[in-house]
């Protein structure tokens, strides 16, 4: 079966392409990307790409929580990957803080089996650094790698000690896997629930200072240099952390980092208005102050930030409808990412369209050593069709994710995913975007 996507704009920064191209898909792979391709013979579906739609290499969210196994009331692999493709993501990397923790081949295999059954987005499991993510003994990393893990992380908490981080970096280097670290110094974090600053002070919320993150980033950058291993900083939020990452990169260390949309869109002022003490503004790392947001925007523009990842963290309404300090950290992010990236970064001219695709596709594929990020002939036919000018209004109740915990409810944004194609097969078309149904 062949599919010819005809007449659209193609943005494929890995191959230096941005313009009117046709894309031919054959057997789940990209066959040709050329101008005015003739319709080939045989069994072929021709999709006339509506004007305003843009074909890109499939978006990859390298930081999500699918909650299965163990917390299926928040999300399952089926609902999470459905949410992913609805947000334009063809692949997601899922963190190991499930119940049980993904520290064994058995759990990795379960995740992959459930993902295959769902048949939507590709799922790249991330294994634990330490057994049970307890920070004591290394997990069976070779086994996790063999079972299909793309990286290791103790996400939800930092890799506990410098020694454990050192060993993890050294050991994982055998498999060319990155160690993804949730950076915070536990003693400085304490029982903090909100960014330590003016708004937390006025609202009487215990502070979680940016320095708690930065200190751990500095440790990890130092260890990346020391071991030569690959460090990836998860959900970076503080301006000091960005300085540490830049410093590491300047020295040639293997350091990469990601930032979540809420950390370049919102500040801690969201705790005070429009809804005071909104638990949908409680995440870890917390919403930081304007200077931090400005730094993240600068890092996204100048290339020192590698990836935009959502830290999609579903929680049920019951869990979030509690006192602020008792609510769990985290918000859903898969379905609001593309609108936020386009509305807040691309349309205002902070970054180019091509740079957005680097952040959302090219770099995550490269860091995870997974296919995708490119529409070169022979690449997997994972394609996200974007409608950068489509206007969307975020309605929490209409999110595909099982959980609705978003601070962006009611926001109207310009930019949407029109269709999502995984391995040549369309797994999502957006009924609200004109021309999307042609991809069905």
């Amino acid at each position: 079966m062949k599919r010819l996507l005809k007449g659209g704009r193609v943005v494929d920064p890995a191959n230096g392409i941005d313009g009117a191209y046709d894309v031919l898909i054959e057997d789940g792979k990209i066959a040709r990307v050329e101008r005015n391709l003739p319709v080939p013979g045989g069994d072929v579906q021709v999709v006339e790409v509506a004007s305003g739609l843009v074909l890109c290499p499939g978006l990859i969210d390298m930081h999500v929580h699918l909650r299965e196994p163990g917390q299926e009331h928040k999300e399952t692999i089926a609902t999470g990957t459905k949410s992913a493709v609805a947000g334009g993501f063809t692949a997601v990397a899922c963190m190991p803080n499930t119940s049980p923790v993904n520290d064994s081949a058995a759990t990795t295999e379960l995740i992959l089996k459930k993902a295959a059954e769902a048949g939507l987005a590709r799922v790249y499991p991330i294994g634990a650094v330490s057994r049970g993510s307890n920070g004591e003994y290394l997990a069976d990393i070779a086994e996790l790698h063999a079972a299909g893990c793309a990286a290791i992380s103790d996400d939800g908490r930092p890799v506990a000690t410098a020694l454990l981080m050192r060993r993890a970096l050294e050991y994982a280097s055998m498999f060319d896997m990155p160690v993804i670290d949730h950076c915070e110094d536990p003693s400085l974090k304490g029982d903090g629930v909100a960014h330590e600053g003016f708004h937390a002070s006025v609202l009487g919320l215990r502070g979680l200072p940016g320095a708690a993150e930065t200190i751990m980033v500095q440790r990890d950058v130092t260890l990346a240099g020391f071991t030569g291993g690959r460090v990836h900083i998860a959900h970076m939020s503080a301006r000091g952390s960005l300085r540490a990452v830049r410093d590491g990169k300047a020295q040639g260390f293997n350091v990469t980092c990601e930032v979540a949309p809420h950390h370049f869109v919102l500040t801690d002022e969201a705790l005070a208005a429009p809804i005071q003490f909104d638990t949908n503004c409680k995440m870890n790392p917390p919403l930081r102050e304007q200077a931090d947001v400005d730094a993240m925007l600068e890092g996204l523009a100048d290339g020192s930030i590698d990836v935009i990842a959502t830290d999609h963290a579903p929680h049920s309404a019951d869990e979030k409808t509690v006192e602020f300090d008792r609510a769990p950290f985290g918000i859903v992010g898969l379905e609001t990412c593309v609108p936020l990236v386009f509305d807040r970064l691309v349309h205002p001219g902070r970054i180019t369209f091509a740079r957005a695709i680097e952040l959302l596709s090219v770099n995550p594929a490269r860091i995870l050593r997974r296919p995708g990020g490119s529409l070169a002939a022979g690449a997997v036919a994972d394609i996200t069709v974007l409608a950068p000018d489509a206007s969307v209004t975020v309605v929490p109740g209409k999110l595909v994710s099982k959980s609705k915990n978003t601070p962006f409810g009611g926001w109207t944004l310009r930019g949407a995913a029109a269709a999502t194609i995984v391995g040549g097969r369309t797994v999502f078309t957006n009924p609200d975007v004109a021309g999307a149904s042609a991809f069905a």
Binding site: G197, F198, S201, G204, L205, V322, E323, F324
Partner: protein, 335 residues
């Protein structure tokens, strides 16, 4: 009680000179914090409290204003002063009161705050007075409950009726709030009394100094328009009011200062330090006091101490809040 006057307890001269037209009612249906009040609303509450104060001096200390209304006192934290003060205020206004104590409630069985409140609401109370250890707990209830919510202290966030009774007490002694120097000393970081007082006093034009060790100063607090110092002498020099905050011993696992002894030596309120203030200074403390930690006994019991008067004024201020939230004079006319 007269039914025609907007000042129902009989007129009582406002001690402030107010450029703004006086407010006659509160805009919000809840009292979640001082942050939501305008200066005019604050003055309205203080003026109404003046009228309420008179009731305490009657032989029969009761008026029928809230007859038939039900007020739930939902206290998730231990409290002597605030709970009894609210209860007395409610009873003097003839409200039916229901005290829900944490030890006998379902919370120990794992019930959430929202479920507890909704279950109480099924009994159709008009108001819920909430004390809770979590900042924002009152805001949460205000979003899910039909009842009017009165914040009786939420975590480290606000304690609006305490700030109102403090302002009431200051105004009685100084005749005004605008232009006076108020020094607030102690554990600023964990104090909801601090936050409510800073908001109120700055709204009404007082010069507010806050003082404590840097480990106990909330970051960015100066953006609220207060002067921050770590030198007690600078804070109290020429002060009209010295307000001591409790060192919250139960929160002190975090090594905020080396020892209680050192704290007292550096920050404790002694007679020598009080002598730097204006001769007519008043000393306030929201209680409960730690004698010999933040305040010397001679100061707590000294002639300038208005600590017990604060407690007495608390009843009048809470009566005013209950009365105004119930609808004030408008509601009475409608009834």
């Amino acid at each position: 009680m007269t039914k025609s006057s907007s000042s129902p307890m009989g007129s009582n001269a406002a001690l402030d000179t107010r450029p703004e037209p006086p407010a006659t009612r509160l805009k919000h249906r809840h009292l979640l914090g001082i942050a939501d009040l305008t200066p005019e609303e604050i003055v309205l509450i203080l003026d109404t409290a003046e009228a309420m104060q008179e009731i305490a001096h009657r032989p029969i200390k009761k008026v029928p204003t809230l007859r038939g209304r039900t007020v739930v006192n939902l206290f998730f934290e231990p409290s002597t002063r605030t709970r009894t003060s609210f209860e007395v205020a409610e009873k003097r206004l003839s409200a039916d009161t229901l005290n829900v104590a944490i030890a006998t409630s379902s919370v120990v069985k794992g019930e959430t705050l929202v479920d507890t409140a909704l279950n109480l609401e099924a009994m159709s109370p008009d108001m819920i007075v909430l004390r809770h250890s979590s900042s924002g707990a009152c805001h949460l209830l205000s979003r899910v409950c039909r009842s009017k919510i009165i914040n009786a202290g939420d975590g480290m966030h606000e304690h609006p009726t305490q700030a109102l009774l403090d302002a009431f007490t200051i105004r009685r002694h100084k005749g005004r709030l605008s232009g006076i120097k108020v020094a607030i000393l102690g554990d600023l970081l964990h104090s909801r009394v601090l936050r409510s007082n800073v908001l109120l006093l700055t709204k009404l034009g007082a010069e507010v100094w806050v003082c404590g060790p840097p480990t106990l100063v909330p970051p960015g607090i100066e953006r609220l328009g207060v002067k921050v110092t770590h030198v007690v002498e600078d804070a109290v020099r020429d002060a009209d009011v010295i307000m001591m905050l409790r060192i919250q011993l139960e929160r002190m696992q975090g090594a905020f200062f080396p020892s209680l002894r050192e704290y007292f030596n550096v920050f404790g309120m002694t007679e020598d330090r009080v002598s730097l203030a204006r001769p007519d200074v008043i000393i306030m403390h929201p209680g409960p006091m730690n004698r010999g930690v933040e305040i010397a006994s001679e100061v707590a019991d000294g002639p300038y101490s208005v600590i017990l008067e604060q407690v007495a004024n608390g009843v009048a201020v809470r009566m005013a809040v209950l009365y105004l939230l119930a609808g004030g004079a408008e509601n009475e006319t409608a009834a």
